[in-house]
């Protein structure tokens, strides 16, 4: 602490000899210039502390004419705060001195046992500690403010995410639907608020039904935004009379421009013609669709093409599959096939086919039943990815 500072000290002391000696010591300090005020009763001390009189530190004798030592402590310490209090006490009164420390006094000195140097050091240290406490308090407040700001920012972000989630959900069909020749249902359980998965169903003017599911590599908002880009392109190119393979090439070309090779999108797209019960499909780096025939045998629908966004000229082969009433086709993302159980084992294609074979419920209940089976497999293992599936059953 730099030398020769002016400090205002209140001495609360009723024994004239003590007051005389202590004021003498205070007047002879080496580093501190003391402006001394004195009080000889608790009432005087209280009035002084409540007034605007400058006061940096209190030297306090607990034995006062109008107050018992314990009362002096409990009444004056709160009034003194945050200014440091040093107790002046007789050596026999160590117990109450220690109690005073517990109640917030900074220090105590035994009367008759301290010198000018001891007293000055005690006062310097008490003032220094007080300064540190003040600085800590300022830092604590700054930290609290910063926490508050962060909380507000986080709240705003969460609100945006909520909005984004509802917007994204509005891009996908809500509930089970009955269309001419087929019924369609969905399972959609994103891990976070927004998802990198998306699916859709559209009926073309000629009565054919377009179904697709996509999976943008990655999670969170960037992936969610990419699903929107992909949906725009798929809607534009799949809802036309042009062959499916050509539509896929055009979608790839759109997405190549947006993704710039830094990301890719996998997809499984198909068109169902109710008249002929034909399902023409095209796979773009996506897990195969699982077909459960009406006799419960499983088949995998694969066509083998790379994901959207990686290559320019590679064709998208289209395969036609003849379906029969009662056949069920499941388009899903790898969050389902890579679901892990408590033993760390993945569901896999075989597990998924088994699971789907055992789902017998019809219509709307099918997705709930499916979810029950998936949860049963998963056990207590937390999910790492979105669970997304689109399925349809041929009437």
């Amino acid at each position: 602490m730099p030398g020769n500072q002016n400090r205002h000290i209140l001495l609360v002391e009723d024994t004239p000899e003590d007051a005389l000696m202590i004021s003498m010591l205070l007047g002879n300090f080496q580093f501190l210039q003391v402006e001394l005020s004195q009080a000889t009763t608790r009432a005087e001390a209280e009035n002084f502390l409540k007034s605007d009189s400058p006061c940096d530190l209190i030297l306090l004798d607990l034995s006062l004419p109008d107050s018992r030592p314990e009362e002096t402590l409990t009444e004056l310490l709160p009034l003194a705060a945050p200014r440091p209090v040093i107790l002046l006490t007789a050596s026999e009164d160590e117990d109450i001195a220690l109690k005073a420390i517990q109640l917030g006094a900074q220090d105590f000195l035994f009367k008759g046992q301290f010198s000018r140097v001891r007293l000055e050091h005690a006062i310097l240290y008490a003032l220094e500690r007080q300064q540190n406490v003040k600085e800590l308090e300022v830092m604590r407040q700054a930290l609290q403010l910063s926490n508050e700001l962060q909380k507000q920012t986080l709240n705003a972000l969460n609100q945006e995410l909520d909005l984004a989630r509802s917007i994204q959900r509005s891009l996908m069909p809500e509930a089970f639907m009955e269309l001419p020749g087929l019924s369609i249902g969905f399972l959609f359980l994103p891990c976070g608020q927004v998802s990198g998965d998306l699916f859709d169903v559209t009926q073309l003017a000629d009565g054919r039904t377009v179904v697709y599911i996509i999976d943008v590599v990655g999670h969170g908002m960037p992936a969610a935004l990419m699903t929107t880009m992909a949906k725009l392109s798929l809607t534009k190119h799949l809802n036309t009379e042009i062959p499916l393979g050509e539509s896929m090439l055009r979608v790839n070309s759109d997405l190549r421009a947006v993704l710039k090779k830094s990301r890719y999108i996998t997809a499984f797209c198909g068109i169902y013609t109710a008249d002929t019960k034909t399902f023409s499909y095209c796979q773009a780096g996506h897990p195969p669709a699982c077909l459960i025939r009406n006799d419960s045998t499983a088949e995998w629908l694969e066509s083998g093409a790379p994901p959207f966004g990686l290559f320019d000229e590679l064709p998208f082969p289209v395969i036609d599959c003849q379906l029969n009433p009662g056949d069920r086709v499941h388009l899903y993302t790898d969050g389902i096939s890579e679901l892990q159980n408590d033993d760390g084992k993945m569901l896999g294609n075989t597990g998924l086919a088994d699971l789907l074979r055992h789902c017998q419920n019809a219509g709307d209940e099918y997705s709930m039943h499916l979810l029950d089976h998936l949860s049963e497999f998963q056990g207590f293992t937390p999910r790492q990815d979105d669970l997304t599936m689109l399925y349809f059953e041929v009437k």
Partner: protein, 113 residues
């Protein structure tokens, strides 16, 4: 036997605060002898143990400054017994009264030089 006065105490005060402080301290102490004795007697008469303990406490502290060792010890015992609400004090009070008078005389003698 413990000496009545420890002259080293006042000598030390003089070294730190000067002759004037020494004189002022002794004068203050001597001026307060009678008021303190009265306060102690009155407090005892009215069984006001709080005032009795506090006055004894004050006297103890003052006596220690001027080096009145025996007086400080008697005051300490009085403070302690008053805190315990010990009513049987006539003997101690008589001793205190004698010691106050003797200390006062001794101080006046040694400091009057």
């Amino acid at each position: 036997m413990i000496p009545r006065l420890d002259p080293a105490r006042l000598d030390e005060i003089e070294r730190t605060g000067g002759k004037e402080l020494r004189r002022e301290l002794v004068a203050t102490f001597l001026q307060n002898i009678n008021p303190r004795l009265s306060a102690i007697s009155e407090a005892y008469a009215s069984q006001d143990f709080i005032t009795l303990a506090r006055t004894a406490h004050s006297l103890k502290s003052a006596a220690r400054w001027v080096g009145a060792i025996q007086l400080a010890e008697i005051a300490r015992e009085l403070e302690h017994r008053a805190e315990q609400k010990d009513f049987d004090l006539p003997e101690l009070l008589a001793t205190l009264s004698r010691e106050l008078a003797d200390t006062s005389t001794a101080l006046a003698e040694s400091e009057g030089r």
